[in-house]
Symmetry: D2
């Protein structure tokens, strides 16, 4: 049983997923593509030697394409419409983040899915598929450290371009922590506060960098998240969970150790693309496996996409206000309650 997949948006990330499904993963094949740049879409079909039809737009692809599921990998502002169209068509959707560019947009998707009555959407928050985070999650769920009380994390990039603005520290960078942390501790965010340490001289004039975001959950867990996108030394993702009985911490990426020139150490990654390669593979394989066997997707839901959007909005507000901002999600719809695989 091979899953027929349509791809909406054949830019960098779209091509990357096409390569992944075609060359690395099992159980799926690309049967339809579309892009605002039709020549680009055709080139992709040719370059990967796909047996796939090229469609003028998402709606036509959904209506006429031989597809069981679609990947939405267009630019962010186009996501909402494509996802809504896919739900309307009853197709499974893997949508890259953001699910929509506004909390309201995410909520419209949630409502459409509820109306449809079945979860169809998985959002591309790949960290939940990272081996290290999965180990952390298992340790926490098995109560290896007792009740979690605090989380300390850091998201560091060696540098960012001139176009990177202060709010992007939330919407482009912290957004991954926002998704993965509430999942990690099975809790919801309650409030957020942003503090600015001394600014690095390596940051551009318009950018506050680094930043420290303090999130509190309803359960009382205190999360201190550092964002530092001009840290120079590498791409570095840290996460440590402090519990009543002990601490667990994300492993460093596996790398040979060396002793040379008066140093013993390991390399730190410089390119973020190397950090979660395996997680990208796993999230797409998991999507294919689940929906290919008629189950709901098992990854981050539309509701998770909505949580990320609402939380990011509050974080940006806190960046500006300097005070504590509340995070109001409303009640969690029944469709998104935890269930075992067999119920799905």
């Amino acid at each position: 049983m091979t899953l027929n997949i349509g791809v909406i948006g054949t830019g960098a990330i779209g091509r990357e997923h096409i390569r992944r499904i075609t060359c690395n993963l099992s159980g799926g094949r690309i049967t339809a593509v579309t892009d605002v740049n039709q020549e680009a879409a055709k080139a992709v079909v040719e370059n990967f030697g796909l047996e796939a039809a090229v469609f003028p737009d998402d709606k036509t692809l959904l209506a006429e394409g031989n597809v069981d599921a679609v990947l939405v990998t267009s630019w962010g502002p186009a996501h909402e419409q494509s996802v809504l169209a896919a739900i309307e068509a009853g197709k499974y959707v893997f949508c890259e983040k953001p699910l929509a560019t506004t909390a309201e947009g995410c909520r419209r998707i949630v409502d459409a899915e509820i109306k449809h009555g079945k979860r169809l959407v998985q959002v591309g928050f790949m960290r939940r598929y990272d081996s290290g985070y999965m180990q952390l999650k298992r340790a926490i769920d098995e109560r290896f450290i007792g009740e979690p009380l605090m989380i300390r994390c850091a998201h560091r990039n060696p540098e960012v371009g001139e176009g990177y603005t202060t709010d992007m520290a939330i919407t482009d960078t912290l957004i991954h922590e926002i998704d993965v942390l509430h999942w990690l501790v099975n809790d919801d965010y309650k409030s957020v506060q942003v503090t600015y340490p001394k600014k690095s001289r390596n940051a551009s004039s318009h950018l506050r960098d680094p930043q420290v975001v303090t999130l509190e959950t309803h359960g009382g867990i205190l999360i201190t998240a550092e964002i530092f996108v001009n840290c120079r030394y590498g791409y570095d993702i840290q996460c440590e969970v402090i519990g009543e009985e002990g601490i667990v911490k994300l492993p460093e990426p596996s790398s040979i150790t060396f002793r040379k020139e008066a140093v013993q150490g390991t390399s730190v990654l410089m390119d973020w693309k190397d950090r979660f390669i395996d997680a990208y593979d796993r999230e797409i394989q998991d999507f294919i496996n689940a929906v290919g066997s008629g189950k709901e997707p098992q990854g981050p839901t539309s509701w998770d996409g909505y949580i990320a959007a609402v939380t990011a909005d509050a974080c940006v507000k806190a960046q500006e206000s300097g005070g504590r901002e509340e995070i109001e999600l409303g009640e969690k719809p029944a469709l998104y309650e935890e269930r075992t695989l067999s119920q799905a």
Copy 2:
């Protein structure tokens, strides 16, 4: 272009590769299987939902099956005949170790392949596909540590069954180091000596455990390899290369760190099957990718299988003699010279 693969031997490792090709990897499908136990072969087809024919034996599968390549995953003594038959039929072969149970058998395969005029065979030494060993190889090839002078390695298992005998420390355990180490340093073994430290009381009465194997290469590199198959604490593979300008060392398997009950640490694997999971995936994917595009397999060759057999014979002789034993390979046939991918 999907590669049609026949599987000769549907025991544990055969099933594992079938699962891998069917559920995890890209570009291959199982179209034919055979096993001395025909019921088992049929059950495998059913359980995995394969569209594959069941054949009475390897020769029939090769003659009548719709296969571009075969996996030889039967028990060791049957490997030689199946590989020779595949070469005779001009089919690509992925053969689990050992290539043959004797050096002479391996040599017969080498000669058959030379006669055929093209490399068809890849031997299942998966460590060359382990991320850590690949990083070591790259560091050595890029002369990061200058000329390698020594290698220290260890191969430890928590325990072995009663049936495990002293020579199996070479033929079942060290065999992986034998393959990967000469590849790592681009050198050939010259001699070997085996020393027995004090025996662990956890070893069965008929087993010498631990053992230390000292190999020398023609280039003068000294390799000290510890084998300890009742070490109790875990499955642990260590490898450290000491060069003129520095040292590189295999990373520990990636694992979350913890602080709990007066200890900070990480888990050590207890099951060898967890250690090289990714390497197994990569070796098979690489085999599919290479032969699926009409190239020679890029992994360990028949000649490497022959090297392993000759070296293991010398190690076993050294176990018994207590002295230094020479390792005589004869001249390397031109077919097995290093070449760039484009030449292959």
Copy 3:
């Protein structure tokens, strides 16, 4: 030239320093002791075989004892009077923390010392003498990480007694971070805020534990300090300084690594007394060396004791208010400006 030392207070810490000076260190001898419990003072002289006179109180000891310097190791509320008396007598003083129990008390000592015209007092903040902190300091001063921007630290104890109250997290525990951090980055504190994560069930009913203290310096450095005195797993001091060009971090206490029972790791200390043993030795030896050669003490000054008191007051206020509290030191007196050793 042996320094004659009087000890005011022969309780646990007093005896520990007497043992240190008598059995471990060079250049000093105990010539006079006093304690509110005269029998205890006499017992100490006898047990250590000291050639030391026992005096009824601090003033008599200072007036009649053959002492060049005194150690004030009585209980906290008695420190101020003894230190003031020593300054009055023109004697060097090593005073265990706190210098005085109130900021006003500390200020009176500062003023007395200024009036005397020379630094006589060293406060027993031993962390500045810890090898790890000294390495951090050197790295920062040499600008190895560029400008420091943030500090993340943690002070964890396995457990505390029933008598430990929420404010003691500041005055007994964080007080060491308060002293060492401003010294580390050559900066002064500006404000503080305290946040309470979810409370550990291992903490007694009247104690907020853990706590997170956020300090800002005038230079803009943001310090996040976790205090967790019922962490169960060990006594653990963490400190990481994040700079513009890199990060430096306190080493773990040196300990053999082990592999056993599916874990590789090291022991974590359970007893705080083991953590800074070498630092206690070094601070007292440094005090003896400096004042024994007629120089001013080189360690934490009365002004540092005053900083600690003012900062601790603001932290306790912040514990209660939940808001940001300012830290006002007033201008630094000239006597306490940094100077090179030769000027002193």
Copy 4:
């Protein structure tokens, strides 16, 4: 009770111990010195401000000096005569390694001490006082890893001068491992073999470097010791003990960790003098404490010095022969049997 100490030999190591006793340690004072260079001896007295008499030679110092104990820190060939003279005079001796330059010389000292009837001599093998080795010893003695079966160690220097010859790898370098390892496992050496890996191009033409020395104990423990004195990257001492139930390993020297320029790591020492500073302090303090209270020295004995000499001789013979050489100590005299402190 201050121990009066005479120093025989005021070269580098002599001055270092004088500084140590005078400025760092407790309970001893230098009261007499001698050196073949009388001017040097006088300069030392002056520079350190010692109240010490300068004597023309060791015999006069022992006869006329006000000394309870002597340090023998002259050049190696002079050690034997000074130690014998000290025993003759009934004085305690701390003798830097080697105890004597020949096994026969060491034996003469052993015999003299036996004749005297009490242990007077401690040999300056400081590693037994290193915190890491002490922790290893404790773990082994407490059977934390069960019975020890193998030891893997390495002794690496960044570089050596032209004057360093192949045998000095044993007599100057491995000599420390020779002393510390038999103590660590409470066992005696039985045989030794030396193997030469590929030579580093950084070694001078007359020097075999690196070398691998394989020692076996009577109990069957197999020790693999690498000596590599031109390893370039640092001064590095490794020691790992593999037991029936687990492994323990020497810690790296405590050092801050950094993240900078795509590397996370720690510094490796370049200067051997920094590695065992604390151990030097501890060995001398322990000597002072023991003999100052009338006990026998508690550190390495004359018999240990003799073991080191006999073992080194066998190692050098094995360097030349290429074969296995036996190590024959003869029976251990009763004077050197382990005893508890109270018996001494």
